[in-house]
C-alpha cells in the first residue's frame, strides 16, 4: 500500500492533520520566532554550513521546503520569466539562512581518497568568487578538459586495462586479438568483481567472438556467464539469450524466457498466436498445464469479447442494456472471466464457450471457487432465486437440502456485501451451523429474528435483555422479545 499524491495532499491539507509551516501565525510563538530570526542571523557569522537548520521546513505538500523535489516543482513552474521566478524563489526561501561567507575546505574529500589528488584550499575561494559574477562573461571552455577522452596506448596488460576501465576511463580493447588474451582480460575483470567492467569486456567478446566460442568459454566461467545472461536480458537481446540457454541445455529457463515475451505483445490475436508457440516447450509438468490454460483462456476471451461487443452494440440484449460492460474481458484472469460469464451468460447451455459450466469443466475449476464466484455474480444482480438454487441439493429420495461447500458464514458475508435484503440474509444466517458464529453474524447484520430465536433456544435471558435495548422502541421485534421474556414456558438459564 502506498500513499498516492492525491492522498498525501488531502492528508496535509485537511484541517485535522496540520503540517508545520513557517506561515503558522501563532500568537504565543511569534515572539519566539523573532528571537529565532535573530539567532539565525547570528549564525550566518558563526556557522559555516549552508543548511544549518536541524529542523525541516515542510511545505503544504508535505515535502520539506527547499528539498530537491520541492525545488524542481518550483523552478520548473517558473520557467520563462527567470528573473521574477528567482526573486519569488528567494522570498519563498527567505528563511534559509545559508552563509554568504566562503567556506574553509574540509579535510575530507572522497575524490582525494580514490583519485589520489588533493585540492588546494584556495580553490574553493576562487570558485566562489567566480560564481558571484555574471556567468556569460566567463569563458566556459575553462571546464572542457577532456570531452571525448580516449586512450590508444597499446602496451597495457590485461590487468592494467581492467584497472583503467574501473576508473571509468574508456580504453580500446581492440588490441586483444587472440582468444587467450581476451579470456585473460575477462578473468581479470571477473576477479575485480566490478560488474561494470565485466559487462564492458563481455560486450567486446560478444562482438569479436563467434557465438559458439563465446558460449563454450563462458560455460566454464559461471560468474561471467551470469553477467552475460543479465546483460542480455537488460538489453533485450532475446534471440541470443535463447541460443545461449539452448546451448547450455537449460531447457526450463529457455521455456520461461520465451514465455515471458508475451508480456510485451499488446495485440490479443498476436499474443494468442505467440502463446500457442509456448505450448510444448520444456516447462515443468505443472507449468505446462498452466501455459496451456493460459492459451485456451485467451482464445476463449477473444471469442467471447467479439460476440459480446456485438451484442452490446446491437442493444437488443437486456443484460447488456441494463449493465453495460465496464471493460473488455481480454487478458483478465480466469476467475474474473468466470465471474463475467456468471454475470452475463449464466443461463447458457454447456455447449457454448461463454457458459460458466463450460469454463468450469474446461479449466477444472474447483467447486468451492465456482460457487464463490457464481454467488458473487448472481448476488450482484440480486438474482436471489439463482442464489437459492446454487445451494439446494436433492438427495435420492427427492428431499431438498441446503449445502454450501464454502460454509454459510461466507455466503452471508458475500450476500451482505452485495446488500441483500434482510429476509434473504436471515435465511442464510439461520443455516450457519456454529451457534456463536450464527449469533455474531445475526447481530452484525441486524437479523433480529435470528438473534431473538437463538437467544430463546439458548435460554439466555441476559443476552436477550441486552438485545432489547438495541431494537427500535415500539417495533415488532421489541414486542416479540417482550412476549418471550414474559413467557412462563421457558426455563431460563440465567
Amino acid at each position: 500500500m502506498s500513499w498516492t499524491k492525491g492522498d498525501e495532499e488531502e492528508y496535509w491539507n485537511s484541517s485535522k492533520f496540520k503540517a508545520f509551516t513557517f506561515d503558522d501565525e501563532d500568537d504565543e510563538l511569534s515572539q519566539l520566532k523573532e528571537s529565532k530570526q535573530a539567532v539565525n542571523s547570528l549564525r550566518d557569522f558563526v556557522d559555516d554550513d549552508d543548511d544549518d537548520e536541524d529542523l525541516e521546513r515542510v511545505s503544504w505538500s508535505g515535502e520539506p521546503v527547499g528539498s530537491i523535489s520541492w525545488s524542481i516543482r518550483e523552478t520548473a513552474g517558473n520557467s520563462g520569466s527567470t528573473h521574477e521566478g528567482r526573486e519569488q524563489l528567494k522570498s519563498r526561501n527567505s528563511f534559509s539562512s545559508y552563509a554568504q561567507l566562503p567556506k574553509p575546505t574540509s579535510t575530507y574529500s572522497l575524490s582525494s581518497f580514490f583519485r589520489g589528488r588533493t585540492r588546494p584550499g584556495s580553490f574553493q575561494f576562487l570558485s566562489d568568487a567566480l560564481s558571484d559574477t555574471p556567468a556569460k562573461s566567463y569563458a566556459p571552455e575553462l571546464g572542457r578538459p577532456k570531452g571525448e577522452y580516449r586512450d590508444y596506448s597499446n602496451d597495457w596488460s590485461p590487468s592494467d586495462t581492467v584497472r583503467r576501465l574501473r576508473k571509468g576511463k574508456i580504453c580500446s580493447l581492440e588490441r586483444f586479438r587472440s582468444l587467450q588474451d581476451k579470456l585473460q582480460l575477462l578473468e581479470e575483470a571477473v576477479s575485480m568483481h566490478d560488474g561494470n567492467v565485466i559487462t564492458a569486456v563481455l560486450i567486446f567478446l560478444k562482438r569479436t567472438l563467434s557465438k559458439e566460442i563465446l558460449f563454450r568459454e563462458l560455460e566454464v566461467r559461471q560468474v561471467a556467464l551470469r553477467h552475460l545472461i543479465h546483460f542480455l536480458k537488460e538489453i533485450g537481446d532475446q534471440k541470443l539469450l535463447l541460443d545461449l540457454f539452448r546451448f547450455l541445455d537449460r531447457t526450463e529457463e529457455l521455456a520461461l524466457s520465451h514465455y515471458q515475451e508475451h508480456l510485451n505483445i499488446q495485440d490479443p490475436e498476436k499474443r494468442k498466436e505467440f502463446l500457442k508457440t509456448c505450448i510444448g516447450l520444456p516447462f515443468s509438468a505443472e507449468d505446462s498445464a498452466h501455459v496451456q490454460d493460459h492459451y485456451t483462456l485467451l482464445e476463449r476471451q477473444i471469442i467471447i469479447e467479439a460476440n459480446d461487443r456485438h451484442l452490446e452494440l446491437a442493444g437488443q440484449t437486456e443484460i447488456f442494456r441494463k449493465h453495460p460492460r465496464k471493460a473488455s474481458i481480454l487478458n483478465m484472469p480466469l476467475v474474473t472471466t468466470l465471474f463475467y460469464s456468471c454475470f452475463y451468460h449464466y443461463t447458457e447451455a454447456e455447449g457454448t464457450f461463454s457458459s460458466p459450466i463450460n469454463l468450469k469443466k474446461t479449466f477444472k475449476i474447483p467447486d468451492k471457487q465456482y460457487v464463490l464466484t457464481a454467488l458473487a455474480a448472481r448476488a450482484k444482480l440480486r438474482a436471489w432465486h439463482d442464489v437459492d438454487a446454487l445451494f439446494t441439493t436433492k438427495n435420492w429420495l427427492g428431499y431438498t437440502k441446503k449445502r454450501a461447500p464454502i460454509g454459510f458464514h461466507r455466503v452471508v458475508e458475500i450476500l451482505h456485501k452485495n446488500s441483500a435484503p434482510v429476509q434473504i440474509l436471515q435465511e442464510y444466517v439461520n443455516l450457519v451451523e456454529d451457534v456463536d458464529t450464527k449469533l455474531n453474524l445475526a447481530t452484525k447484520f441486524k437479523c433480529h429474528d435470528v438473534v431473538i430465536d437463538t437467544c430463546r433456544d439458548l435460554k439466555d435471558r441476559q443476552q436477550l435483555l441486552a438485545y432489547r435495548s438495541k431494537v427500535d422502541k415500539g417495533s415488532a421485534e421489541e414486542e416479540k422479545i417482550d412476549a418471550i421474556l414474559s413467557s412462563s414456558q421457558i426455563r431460563w438459564k440465567n
Binding site: 503540517a19 549552508d50 515535502e63 530537491i68 523552478t75 551470469r226
Partner: protein, 565 residues
Amino acid sequence: MAAHLSYGRVNLNVLREAVRRELREFLDKCAGSKAIVWDEYLTGPFGLIAQYSLLKEHEVEKMFTLKGSRLPAADVKNIIFFVRPRLELMDIIAENVLSEDRRGPARDFHLLFVPRRSLLCEQRLKDLGVLGSFIHREEYSLDLIPFDGDLLSMESEGAFKECYLEGDQTSLYHAAKGLMTLQALYGTIPQIFGKGECARQVANMMIRMKREFTGSQNSIFPVFDNLLLLDRNVDLLTPLATQLTYEGLIDEIYGIQNKLHQLLCHQQFMRACWVFQGNINCIGLAGAEVGEERHNAKTVGEIKQFVSQLPHMQAARGSLANHTSIAELIKDVTTSEDFFDKLTVEQEFMSGIDTDKVNNYIEDCIAQKHPLIKVLRLVCLQSVCNSGLKQKVLDYYKREILQTYGYEHILTLHNLEKAGLLRPQTGGRNNYPTIRKTLRLWMDDVNEQNPTDISYVYSGYAPLSVRLAQLLSRPGWRSIEEVLRILPGPHFEERQPLPTGLQKKRQPGENRVTLIFFLGGVTFAEIAALRFLSQLEDGGTEYVIATTKLMNGSSWIEALMEKPC
C-alpha cells in the same frame, strides 16, 4: 550541519560532508549558470545530502525531472543530467539532446552518473549518436547515504534481485567500495565477521581493495570495532512478517519515503521519550498520551520539557502533531479485523503451528482477491517457516494464485522460488523448529511496553538477523555452530591488522561499536531491534546499520515480480 546525523556514537556528518564536497567540486567544473535534469528516483536520496540552497550557491538555477522529447526552456549555460546508470534513461537523455533547438543559444551538456559510471550506458549513448555531446561525463560515488545518526543506505532498489536472482555482483562491489570509503573516513575496521555467500564476496573484495591501496597507510584511529556482513537470504523470514514497531508500521502502511523519514528522524527527542520507539500495542497509548494531557501527566510533561529546550519550538510542535495524527491513522488500520486475522496467521507460522497444510486465511484472501503481494507474502512466510512447502500444498497455492490473478504470474512464482522464498520442501525435513529453538526466535512472554528482548518488535518473534548479531557479540558464534551450518552460506571471520599506535585500549564499561551491513536490504523493525540492543545498559555493543536498501516485505516482493519490460 545536519544535527540528526551527529547524535550517535559515530558522527555520520563527516561522511555527509565528504559527499557534499564532491558534489560541489563537480558543480564547479561546469562553469556558469546551470540547470539540473533529475532522474526522479535520485531526488529522494539527494535530498538527504544537499538542499536546494547548496545547489543554488553553485549557480543551479533550474531543475527539471527527466522526461522524453524536448527539454523545457531555460536560459542557462549548462544542462547537467543526474542519473542512475540505466539503459532506459539513456534513451530519454538522447531524445532530450537530439531535440535541442539548434537556433537557440548553445548550451553545454554534462552527465553525472550516480553512483557509478557505466560503460554499458555510455555504449548506448554512443549508439544513439550523442555521446560526444557531453563535455563532462563523471560518476558521483554516492554509495552509502546517511539517513540517520546510526543508519546508512545505498538505496539500490535492485540489489536483492541482482545478487540472489541474477547472480550479478555489481551492487556487492558498490557495497565494498562504500565500506572502503567509510574506512577511509573512520579508520580501518579491525575485525570482519560474516555469514552468507554475498558477505564472503564483499569481504574478499574489501581485502583485495585494501591490498591495492597499500601505498597510503590509513592513520585514522578506528571508530568501529567490528564489521558484521549479513546476507539477506540468511534470514528470509523477518522481512515477510508485518513489522509492529512505530516506524515499521508507517512503512508497512504508507511506505516511508525519504522525506517522511527525514521528518521522523529529526525528532530525536521523540526517541528519547521512549514512546515512539515502542511496539504497536503501545502506540495507541502513546498517541493518546501525547494528544491528551490528562492520560499520563508525567510523560507529557517530559515531552513538554524537551520541547521547551529545543531552539525551534514550532517545528517540534508541528512534528508532535504529525506523530499524533500518524499514530491515529495507524491505529485505524491496526485495529481492523483483517489486520488482526493476518497477524494471527503470521504468528502461528512463526511459532511453528500448522505450517505444513493449506491455510484457511490465505485461501480466503485469494478467494476475496486481496492484493497479490499480501497473498505472496503470507505464502512465502509459510514456506520459509516450514523449510519449504509440501509439493501438494505448493501446487495448490500456485494454481489458486494463477487462476485468480492471472497465468502470467508463473514468472513471478519462479523468481520467488529461485530466491528461496517459495519452494518445495527438499529431503522432507523441516529445519525451522531447530533454528527457532536454538536461536530463541519465538518468545511467549513479551513485554511490549518495557521490552526486555528484541522479540517485542514483532510481538513475539525475534528477528533472526538481529539474533545472530546479538549472539555474535555475546557469547560468540561458536555457541551456535550447528545452526549456522543449517543457514545458507559460509560464516567467517577476518582480521585487518592495525599498527600498534592505532590499537584501541578499551576503557572499562566502554561499549564496542559494530557496523552491521545487511546485503539485500533491512527493515525498520530490524533497525528498531538493533537500536534496542544499543540502548541496553549492559549490552556492551552499539550498532551502526548499513544496507543496500531500506525495505519491507511488500517492496521486496514487488521488486521480485516480473513485469513487462
